[in-house]
């Protein structure tokens, strides 16, 4: 009996009816169920952390939403630099979210499949740990570990690009044939060229600038110039998301925000020049969430008159953001601004292309998709398009777009894959296979070797 025959016939129990799709990010877990019978799979976004507020109360994962006072909150994250490192903490969070009786997304792993997205270029030891825990501790019925960028290819890529429109009779059969995926996330930014949903491994590049570094950089700038925010990174992250943008013309914006030489204040500095914004800080009593408003040069005097004779609580703390708004995300395009010896995203894309045959360049350059939280920064896509246009060969068409929802795009791709039973079955490993052939075999199968 040929091995293939034996395998197909005695494949054991029926495949699990639903699959847990997990994009286990460093900042948030994107999780939800998908399967052939599930019409519209929807993800939950769960903070992937253990957090402790200043009253020493510990929050696990999604219970962080119960926290009211984020001042001086500290985090422990099981995922470090994009890779799942600390299983003690991760197991606690997964159990809280998926396996406990009261878990929001409760499931029995024995009747569930798992698609787990990982960051590219993981250490083999960490991959082995991951496989062992998934099968030996949780006992999932079926398991697929693959690169996060890879899953994006199962989305309908061509509908993301607007012009030129395609004729309606063309339907896309996932995975996308050719795709250059830029994943700019919390820990780092990766560039992955994909052919038919499979990564070109030697062409994957990583830029060590991610959301965390941007937040920490903004924290440093604000602490240096205004209030000490070093214990409030959670708040600084909110400020970053609310105010930062990628500049189209860095030099001009810089001039707009300069205060001018001594004794000669520039008018644009006083009025804000259309760039300065005020962020009203929350005090976690009356105001639990900060907000942005346009810069008002007379705000301080107005407030003084308004609160005259009133209790202290009526005042508000305001941070004025000027060049911080655009110098922070600028690090994605010019990492050398803080002395990091790497080139910006556009050059990384080109460097990744340099390992790929020239004939594939037009295809990759015309299909650049950006996913990950940083893609939501205003102006990111336009700037990347501009820089790519300048670097790419003049004859090539350059199209850059962000996924419809950049944060859950990877998850969404996984959910599409999970609905296609045949594809998923051919890629995954069942628990029986793991028990028979061991973790080295599983690692080889997922490695495509």
């Amino acid at each position: 009996m040929s091995p293939a025959h034996r395998r197909t016939k005695s494949s054991g129990p029926a495949p699990p009816a639903k699959t847990l799709v997990l994009d286990n990010g460093a900042y948030t877990i994107k999780a939800g169920f998908s399967g052939p019978g599930i019409k519209t799979p929807t993800p939950s976004i769960i903070p992937n952390c253990l957090a402790r507020d200043r009253d020493k109360k510990v929050y696990i994962g999604s219970s962080l939403s119960a926290c009211k006072d984020f001042s001086e909150i500290v985090f422990r994250r099981p995922v470090e630099k994009g890779y799942l490192v600390n299983w003690e903490a991760q197991k606690e969070i997964w159990e809280h979210e998926f396996f406990d009786a009261k878990a929001p997304l409760h499931c029995d792993p024995k009747e569930t499949g798992l698609i787990l997205a990982e960051a590219p270029n993981t250490l083999p030891a960490l991959q082995t740990f991951c496989d062992q825990v998934v099968f030996e501790e949780f006992g999932f019925a079926r398991y697929l570990r693959c690169l996060g960028p890879q899953l994006n290819a199962y989305n309908d890529i061509q509908s993301i690009f607007k012009p030129p429109a395609r004729s309606p009779d063309l339907t896309s059969i996932p995975p996308a044939e050719i795709l250059m995926l830029v994943d700019s996330s919390y820990s780092h930014t990766t560039v992955t060229p994909l052919l038919l949903g499979r990564p070109i491994q030697p062409a994957i590049r990583r830029l060590d600038v991610g959301g965390k570094l941007l937040t920490n950089y903004l924290t440093r700038l604000l602490s240096l110039r205004q209030y000490d925010m070093r214990n409030d990174t959670y708040l600084v992250n909110e400020i970053k998301e609310a105010t930062c943008y990628v500049s189209k013309d860095f030099k001009a914006d810089m001039e707009q925000t300069w205060k001018g030489p001594k004794g000669d204040r520039r008018a644009t500095y006083e009025t804000g020049g259309g760039i300065a914004k005020d962020y009203v800080l929350p005090d976690y009593h009356a105001l639990t969430k900060g907000f942005v408003r346009d810069h008002d040069p007379d705000a301080a005097t107005k407030l003084k008159e308004l609160t005259k004779g009133k209790p202290i609580g009526a005042s508000e703390d305001v941070l004025t953001l000027r060049n911080e708004r655009f110098t922070v995300p600028e690090l994605l395009f010019n990492p050398s601004d803080i002395g990091l010896r790497q080139s910006g995203i556009a050059q990384q894309i080109l460097d990744s292309l340099s390992t790929v045959p020239m004939g594939l360049w037009p295809g990759f350059l015309a299909n650049i998709i950006v996913v990950g939280g940083n893609a939501n920064i205003e102006g990111f896509i336009i700037r990347l398009q501009m820089e790519m246009r300048a670097l790419a060969p003049a004859e090539c068409f350059v199209r850059v777009a962000k996924a419809i929802d950049p944060i859950v795009s990877t998850w969404q791709g996984g959910a599409y894959l999970a609905r296609d039973e045949d594809q998923l079955a051919s890629l995954s490993v069942t628990k029986e296979q793991y028990e028979e052939y061991g973790s080295a075999w599983v690692a080889r199968k997922f490695g495509g070797r």
Partner: protein, 308 residues
């Protein structure tokens, strides 16, 4: 200090017990090198333009700041996993904890530990893959990268439509149209192993379609040497297969380079106080500021700081 004694792992498979790890003795902080792996030797040999030469002191400062930017919390904190009630109330039992899992759960290693373990011990697998890697895959080869000026990727000036037009001179392998997409095509190619039953029917090929736009009508001047469009030939099926089957790079290899072109550009300097262009250098510490006003602010602190 190890007094010149080098610890050699006798057993290459030695899986370190939780709580300790082999660490390559490079003399530099491991977490720092993980962040910016530029060995001293390379830094010395690297030829950089004069205006961005940094002193060792400034380098150290940059590294220190980068490490600070990589932190999760401002202070070192340890948040222990909350202790659960032992009575299994509301808790799914996953059966017995296997020795593997127990070891993994108890491990308190950080990513930097794992990375230095990997560098120190390596694995026979990666050693062999490093050898088989095609030379073109090694990063930092700007020569392979064609710039618009170098003329290598000379496609066509007529936009994308003409990409479909086959150039008579271009050497291109005829690639058939993609017809049906079978699930088998997605199987990671050739899961081959001695013990494996993985007799996965190797798909004929993941074949790239050539697009289905209409080909423009022929024109008498198509062959004109000035107007003819040259498109680089599509890689053949074997080339694509080889590309897709290539093993992943290691963590450090995948780190994006600082390309030569960017190295030549002057590094932008910013005022340490207000963030505007840094145009004036502090005579005491070498920090950059924008103008007199910020210089005064800077020097108030600079002159009073001990050991600066």
């Amino acid at each position: 200090m190890n007094f010149g004694v080098r610890e050699v792992a006798l057993n290459s498979r030695a899986n370190a017990a939780p709580g300790w790890a082999y660490v390559p003795d490079t003399g530099v902080n491991a977490s720092v090198t993980a962040l910016q792996p530029s060995s001293r030797k390379r830094a010395r040999n690297q030829h950089v333009a004069s205006h961005q030469e940094t002193t060792a002191k400034q380098d150290a400062k940059i590294l220190r700041e980068l490490v600070a930017l990589d932190r999760e919390n401002h202070r070192d904190v340890s948040i222990p996993v909350p202790i659960r009630h032992r009575d299994n109330a509301g808790r799914v039992s996953h059966g017995k904890v296997t020795p593997n899992v127990r070891k993994i759960l108890q491990s308190q290693k950080t990513f930097a530990n794992h990375l230095s373990d990997y560098e120190a011990l390596g694995s026979p697998l990666t050693a062999s893959t490093a050898l088989t890697q095609p030379s073109a895959t090694i990063p930092n080869t700007p020569a392979a990268r064609a710039t618009p000026g170098s003329g290598a990727p000379h496609l066509t000036s007529k936009g994308t439509r003409s990409h479909k037009k086959k150039d008579p001179t271009a050497v291109s392998t005829p690639t058939p149209l993609r017809k049906v997409f079978s699930a088998a095509q997605l199987t990671p190619a050739a899961v081959k192993s001695e013990s494996s039953t993985a007799d996965v029917p190797m798909p004929d090929a993941p074949i790239l379609s050539q697009g289905n736009g209409t080909i423009p009508a022929a024109h008498p001047l198509d062959k004109d040497p000035l107007l003819v469009s040259r498109i680089p030939g599509m890689p053949s099926q074997t080339e694509i297969d080889k590309l897709l089957a290539a093993p992943p790079l290691t963590y450090n290899e995948a780190r994006g380079p600082w390309v030569e072109e960017d190295m030549r550009k002057p590094v932008r300097q910013f005022c340490e106080i207000c963030g505007y262009w840094g145009r004036v250098r502090c005579t005491r510490c070498g920090g950059k500021v924008c103008a007199l006003e910020c210089l005064t602010t800077h020097q108030e602190e600079c002159f009073s700081r001990y050991g600066a």
